[in-house]
């Protein structure tokens, strides 16, 4: 991979040196970890014997909130990501608009959802609405970037052909770009729904609603059987999403 042997060895030595330094920076507290192992075992036990019943109403509210948050955020995100993504595609956009859209996408993608959620909870109060806005913001950046990449990678021939016939900008988009990118973009939309659901389980920890809040409470109360039930439900729903998205894609295309 690295052609010169001298560089190869230097890099290897540097890497090993780094590993040594990095490992020494971890302070392991063995008595504390031994203490924790019994708790860890209780968690494994809770995961294997999940308790769906004692907190069922909380779990139900959390799951419904997470799902509705993901659906609305994905749809609104898609709606906004289309103009932004088109603006960020260098082959169909104009310079100032291109930089504006790219800037927005970079901001949205580098900001961790949790950090955005902290700010939005401070602005909009606790609850699902702040979570919806967080997920929408992240969705726009994610889908905008991927849409822009899809548009930039299209086969140029149909675009040129349409341009030669004197088609308007909208006609060019409709007849040369949309048919080329639709299958892949629909797949990305479904994938983003998946991500949004998973993220909705996390942003609840900072107060943005959804199943994350329920999960956080369960872990803080050391109710590992309820926490195990919630985690199993998250895994199940994600699995279901992945399984059905294949069928939905086939049906749409």
């Amino acid at each position: 991979m690295v052609s010169s042997p001298m560089w190869r060895w230097t890099l290897l030595v540097l890497f090993l040196l780094y590993l040594g330094v990095a490992f020494s920076s971890i302070d392991l507290n063995f008595p504390r970890m031994l203490d924790g192992l019994t708790r860890g075992w209780r968690f494994v036990d809770g995961f294997l014997n999940p308790n769906f019943t004692s907190r069922w109403s909380d779990i139900q509210t959390g799951i419904i909130e997470s799902l509705t948050m993901s659906v609305t955020a994905t749809l609104v995100g898609i709606l906004f990501s289309i103009p932004i993504g088109m603006g960020a595609a260098s082959n169909i956009s104009t310079k100032p608009f291109y930089f504006l859209c790219r800037f927005f996408i970079t901001i949205s993608r580098s900001m961790q959802e949790i950090i955005v959620a902290i700010f939005l909870v401070a602005l909009f109060g606790f609850g699902a609405f702040a979570g919806f806005l967080t997920l929408t913001f992240a969705t726009i950046g994610f889908l905008g970037k991927l849409l822009a990449e899809e548009i930039e990678n299209i086969d140029k021939a149909p675009l040129e052909a349409l341009k030669a016939t004197g088609a308007s900008w909208l006609q060019m988009i409709h007849y040369s770009i949309v048919p080329q990118i639709t299958p892949r973009v629909v797949g990305l939309w479904l994938y983003r729904f998946d991500i949004n659901f998973r993220e909705s389980a996390v942003i609840g920890i900072v107060g943005a609603g959804g199943i994350g809040a329920t999960l956080n409470t369960a872990i803080e109360r050391y109710e590992y059987d309820s926490a195990g039930a919630i985690l199993l439900m998250i895994i199940f729903i994600v699995f279901l999403c992945e399984y059905t998205s294949g069928y939905v894609r086939k049906w749409l295309i």
Binding site: M1, Y18, L19, A22, F23, S25, I26, D27, L28, N29, R32, M33, D35, G36, L37, R39, G40, F43, I64, E65, L67, T68, M69, V71, T72, L75, T106, S110, M111, Q112, I114, I115, I118, F119, A122, L123, F124, G125, G127, A128, F129, F132, R198, E199, A201, V202, I205, V206, G212, L215, N216, I219, Y222, A227, L231, I234, I235, V238, F239, E242
Partner: protein, 271 residues
């Protein structure tokens, strides 16, 4: 009105064919589903707070600026910890992911009915649960600190790396495998000389990609006590020290952008 031209005679045709009706119905369905979800989601929303947001935003920005620059000296050690969490976590993650990918790929798995479903379940479970949730659990188990963060990152990375890797293994070119098998090579030799060289670039690319995602994720693990710069963020947030919060967010932003550029550069150089 659409029409078909057949031998100079126009054949008029109704536009609303079954397919078009279906199209309109799916739009209607999506719209009503959205309204339903919207209603369910916002039933507990206090609109007073939402309408209040612009004033709150102005107030918050007023309190955040100027950032407290002198605080940066206290952030360098936590930032170093964050980098270590991400790097060591990725390292452990890929070490675990490598065998799991081989167990999950249907052309290399030892047993398609027993081992493969277990490997796939491990991958789905690891991928479904965010590293923050892993950290939440591990902090309760191992106590707060870097170690919980590293294991959290590792557990989350396993699924990601293993999934992309096993897909690459399933798509390998079969000719070298057949050629080696026909010379009488053992299974290990086939793996070493026919499969691994084909998937190595994917493996390195995916690992680097995961590393830069992990940098991003490890910056917030401290919120639940798993070490790194997130601890400082949590501390500043809990005392509402917004000038410090904005400095930390800015630092995270720069770190994420630099790590993304770094990993992209290495990936381009290697592959």
């Amino acid at each position: 009105m659409a029409h078909l031209e057949t031998s100079a005679k126009k054949v008029w045709q109704q536009r609303m064919t079954f397919k078009r009706w279906m199209g309109w119905f799916s739009w209607l369905f999506i719209l009503s589903f959205f309204m339903l979800c919207w209603q369910a989601m916002t039933q507990n929303t206090l609109w007073v707070f939402v309408l209040d947001a612009p004033t709150q935003a102005a107030d918050l920005i007023d309190r955040m600026f100027p950032p407290r620059w002198s605080y940066i000296t206290a952030l360098l050690k936590p930032l170093w910890d964050t980098l270590n969490i991400a790097t060591l976590g990725t390292l452990f993650g890929i070490i675990l992911a490598f065998p799991i990918a081989f167990l999950a790929a249907h052309n290399t798995t030892p047993s398609r009915f027993f081992v493969r479903p277990i490997a796939l379940f491990i991958i789905v479970a690891s991928r479904s649960i965010n590293s923050l949730i892993w950290a939440l659990l591990l902090v309760a188990i191992f106590g707060p600190g870097l170690f919980a963060g590293i294991i959290a990152i590792a557990l989350r990375s396993v699924g990601f790396v293993a999934k992309l890797l096993y897909e690459a293994i399933e798509e390998v070119d079969k000719t070298p495998i057949k050629a080696l098998t026909s010379t009488g090579a053992s299974a290990v030799q086939v793996m070493d000389y026919a499969i691994i060289p084909q998937i190595l670039p994917t493996f390195i690319g995916v690992s680097l990609f995961r590393w830069d995602i992990n940098i991003r994720e490890s910056t917030i693990l401290g919120l639940v006590g798993a070490g790194g710069i997130g601890l400082e963020l949590q501390a500043s947030l809990s005392v509402l020290a917004w000038p410090q919060v904005i400095l930390i967010v800015l630092l995270i932003f720069i770190t994420v952008i630099l790590s993304e550029a770094f990993s992209a550069k290495i990936r381009n150089a290697i592959i």
